[in-house]
Symmetry: C2
Subunit: 276 residues, 2 copies
């Protein structure tokens, strides 16, 4: 039976609102996701929120009805509230009609099973949560296994990253590691490490990419450190014809990933395609 919260002063509202802050997220081990599309994507991936807020005027929506039932069945709490309170929770002028509070998941390298996909995305010191979320979304589209975050990156559980992932947050495996942890782990199994670097001489379309391919992109401002690039099996660049000499990090990552996919899917009739 859903609880109803109508008062801004309710302590739970304050606590949930606090999850927009990284320190609170870490302390609580929780994070926020907003919107029917993302919550339904999470549900389909087998992940339910511990707390499920929905606007009173959306209570009859079939997805809302289903989520109320499932959340309560697993011991979570469904909370009916107003648009005003959802506005306060989300900080947006046009808040989504639903908001979920999820348990953060383990992001250790041990979670990566490299045999499950032929493509993995690896991003070093990414600062922009929109880029991080977009990489997750692209990873989903190319059939990648997940995203490995190297060194000090923006929090993958941030509201902006979750939003930009459009639900891929719940379907892609996410790992976080230092470079010193990542490299021995990578070399402990099969895998081709491909570094994207402005200093590389080889066009990204030339190498033959061997699965599992680990595509490594660097920080938005600095690009890939020279010693990281040197440790890669292959270094490639995406040609640029313009005045500037860089692409957005998530864009580079996507152009590369679709090139790998193109190699693995010869264009012969309307057959299904595979990332492996």
């Amino acid at each position: 039976m859903p609880r109803e919260i109508t008062a801004f002063s309710n302590p739970l509202i304050k606590r949930v609102r606090g999850l927009r802050d990284k320190r609170h997220r870490r302390e609580e081990g929780l994070f926020l996701a907003e919107g029917l599309r993302i919550l339904a994507e999470a549900e389909e991936a087998g992940t339910l929120p511990e707390l499920f807020f929905y606007a009173v005027d959306s209570a009859r929506h079939p997805i809302v009805q289903r989520l109320i039932g499932k959340v309560e069945a697993q011991g979570g709490e469904a909370i009916e509230t107003s648009r005003d309170i959802l506005h306060k929770l989300s900080g947006k002028d046009n808040p989504q009609v639903v908001l979920g509070v999820y348990r953060q998941f383990d992001t250790s390298l041990a979670r990566i099973d490299r045999t499950t996909s032929g493509i993995w995305l690896v991003a070093q010191a990414i600062r922009d949560p929109g880029n991080l979320g977009t990489m997750l979304r692209t990873g989903d589209a190319v059939g990648a296994g997940g995203l490995i975050l190297i060194d000090d990156t923006v929090d993958p559980f941030s509201v902006e990253a979750v939003r930009a992932s459009m639900g891929a947050m719940f379907t892609q495996t996410i790992a976080q590691a230092s470079w010193e942890e990542f490299l021995p782990w990578l070399r402990g199994g099969e895998g081709q490490l491909v570094g994207l670097s402005l200093e590389a001489s080889e066009d990204y379309r030339r190498p033959k990419y061997a699965p599992p391919t680990f595509l490594l992109v660097g920080n938005e401002a600095q690009g890939l450190p020279a010693d990281y690039a040197a440790a890669c099996d292959v270094r490639v660049k995406i040609p640029m014809l313009g005045k500037a000499d860089s692409l957005n990090a998530a864009i580079s990552c996507a152009v590369m990933a679709y090139q790998v996919l193109a190699q693995r899917k010869p264009l012969t009739g309307g057959q299904g395609i595979s990332a492996r």
Copy 2:
């Protein structure tokens, strides 16, 4: 001789700060750009700000010195100020050391000379300024002529769009038009209109793209309207292998644009490449 402004109450500070708001930008016919990299990119493209703010502690930077000279030579004003005031102007915790106020330029279709490039990007009803700016940046990288904005889009002169463009704002031609204006204009000359649509059956790698190619992507949430897709010469889709069925609009645009570029640049040795 640069003027010095140290008081937050200075009316110019209030006026410039107001340019973060679309209505004020339109009334004044001006817009903001921040950061040495973007202002230097603009300068290289032959565009100088009418007002040039710089932090007192960056006054000796060679780019700042050069910009002061050039801005004053063309009758503009250089203004030395504090980091605190730059913070107020930019609204960011770590403000850039320079900020320029530029005159908005004409964005009519008449500005597009389709003979100058083999690729043009066309975006319909784009809502996210980061996506718009990223498309400009990608356009620069692939040697596109510019970006044509169809129907009601986010303001290309917004601070966020200018920032995401990383200076491509000043090198790419930008036009704004309704679909009813755009289509007759397009058909009044040569040009292949290629629509990116989830409903298309053809893989984006299959068609032969004929220059000038106009790559049309739709709104972030709705995609391309069916009648817009129907009016295209070619409709293609980018394959997606994941749980979700969409890519970020700027990502789709980039994957397509690099495919067009790849067709026009056979991989034979280390020769120069061209978008045409």
